[in-house]
Amino acid sequence: MVAFLIRRILFLVPVLLGGSAIVFTLIQLAPGDPIDVLLGVYSSPESRQALREAYGLNDPPYVQYFRWLGHILQGDWGISIQQRVPVLTLVMEKFWITLLLTGAAGSFAIIVGVGAGIVSAVKHNTWIDRVILVVSVFALSMPSYWLGLLFIFVFSVQLGWLPTGGIRSFIEPKSTLDVIEHMIMPGIVAGLTPAAIIARVARAAMLEVMRLDFLTALRAKGLSEGAVILRHALRNAMPSIVNMTGLQIGYLILGGALFVEIIFSWPGLGLEIYKSVVGRDMPMMLGLVLFSTFVFVILNLLVDICYRIMNPRIQSE
């Protein structure tokens, strides 16, 4: 286990270096000469050259990369062009808001996904199983940005049950659970695809486990079917389910929630990425991507470790 941890953590170094190198390359490829921005197109070649020297833009790319990396490590992520505020400050502000949405969507995905997966496995090859499978394909195929629009139209504009977007009300809140109300629609829409994927994995894992003999033995011992399924089968299927759930939540925070945030004006990382893309605010956008890479990599590590702890079989490998 210790060896695994060390290996896994050491591997973070090349991944983070590689990831930041990709982001740095994108910065370089982005259209527009920074000098143009600073001096205007009609500036003299001499003054341009002088400024290039001053900013180190004539150094070889790898030198520039490590200098940039140095800034990143010291917390200097540049300034957002649109908002004139340090990128890192903004990113941290928005991260928690996205995490909140991810919490809502993740809870929905886990409850519905694991539930549907178990039911489907227990009722294997019945019509219930088939309906769940078909519905899961539909959920996988649903464009969240479209479903979100339909939800707003039906539940907010037509029925007036839920707020259209944002994170809280300004006119008197309809109930004390104001933020929860704002989380319901985005949470469900963002959680739908992960729910479908978790359901499919949970079903497969359960079916695999339910083929094993020890369950029959337990049943023979007189354990109720519910106990057999929930206490024994599910526990054995758990590692795969947790693994996939972790991955899905990673995808959710770092991208999956993007469209949902845009549709529901949820002021998190996704909406910020959208605004920086539309506004061609490259420092902001690449800062967001870099930050997401860090989070994604660490989350993957945590998922791996969980999987290890829960699945003693792998340890002996």
Partner: protein, 298 residues
């Protein structure tokens, strides 16, 4: 996007064992309703896209301002008209082209690159393997959706740039899946036999490994096509992909967004189209996977 790990154990042996009698194969399809459903949906969309120049009643770009926002079933506009008075049916048919391109081209290109990289890595082992696979792990360690958006934003809007950005994020999973297939293949007896008969590594990769890994890789690619379509159209939806006046489903949803409650058809129809085509791909992908690997049947 689904992680590739959910179909890792694609076993290549299954295609080998089946009978070559074509009739039996067709009968097999009867047990795979999901393939049939998927294939029908996808072929219909392909047909609509191919025949758009012949069948579409109007030019997809030319607007008739006087007929703007006409509802479904208006004479002359079977599926209504959009905010510039352009025929929705024609735009949906033409839009099928870019949607199919978004879903298929990046997967095909990434699939080809992945096949080559994955086979080489899986077959040769050692340093080459480490270099390729660790390199892929690095790219795979980046959040794919954000990476694609960042690349698309850097390259600028347009169909080709959108396809490039999707291809880049698809190469690592395609390579990984090929690699996993090849590692299993390598131990099979017919490869041993080829090696014993004196074939070079190059010959083995191209004559034995590649042909035998194509099927599972295609199955995997198909299972991703739906997700790629939904995501790619989403990029157009936020304004980074295909630009007006070109017809594109993602873009069209956005066009109709401001009048969803009044003229729902403008935004609902293209959304439905994405949903149906993605479902088609997903059914097809599920079915192919079942066919190739009954153990993983869902």
């Amino acid at each position: 996007m689904a992680a590739p790990s959910d179909i890792v154990s694609t076993s290549p042996g299954s295609t080998q064992g089946e009978s070559n009698d074509p009739w039996r194969r067709l009968r097999v399809l009867k047990n795979h309703k999901s393939i049939v459903a998927g294939a029908i949906i996808v072929s219909l969309v392909v047909l609509a896209a191919l025949l758009a120049p012949v069948l579409s009643p109007y030019d997809p770009i030319e607007g008739h301002p006087i007929d703007r926002l006409k509802g479904i079933g208006t004479p002359g506009y079977l599926l209504g008209a959009d905010q510039q008075g352009r025929d929705m049916l024609s735009r949906l048919m033409w839009g099928a082209r870019s949607s199919l391109a978004i879903a298929v081209v990046p997967l095909a290109v990434a699939g080809l690159i992945g096949l080559v990289l994955g086979s080489v890595a899986g077959y040769s082992g050692r340093i080459v393997e480490t270099l390729i696979m660790r390199g892929m792990d690095i790219v795979f360690g980046l959040p794919p959706i954000l990476l694609a958006i960042a690349v698309a934003a850097t390259l600028g809007p347009g169909l080709v740039n959108l396809m490039i950005s999707l291809t880049i994020v698809l190469i690592p999973p395609m390579t990984r899946v090929t690699y996993q297939v090849v590692v299993i293949l390598k131990e099979q007896t017919f490869i041993e036999a080829a090696r014993a008969s004196g074939a070079s590594s190059f010959q083995i990769i191209f004559n034995q490994i590649l042909p035998n890994s194509v099927a599972p890789v295609i199955a995997y690619a198909t299972s991703l096509a739906g997700a790629i379509l939904v995501f790619g159209a989403g990029i157009s939806f936020i304004g980074l992909g295909i630009q007006p006046p070109e017809a594109d489903w993602g873009r069209m949803i956005n066009d109709g967004r401001s009048m969803l409650d009044l003229k729902p058809h403008v935004s609902t129809l293209p959304g439905l189209a994405i949903f149906v085509l993605a479902a088609g791909f997903n059914f097809l992908g599920d079915g192919l996977r079942d066919l190739l690997d009954p153990r993983m049947r869902l």
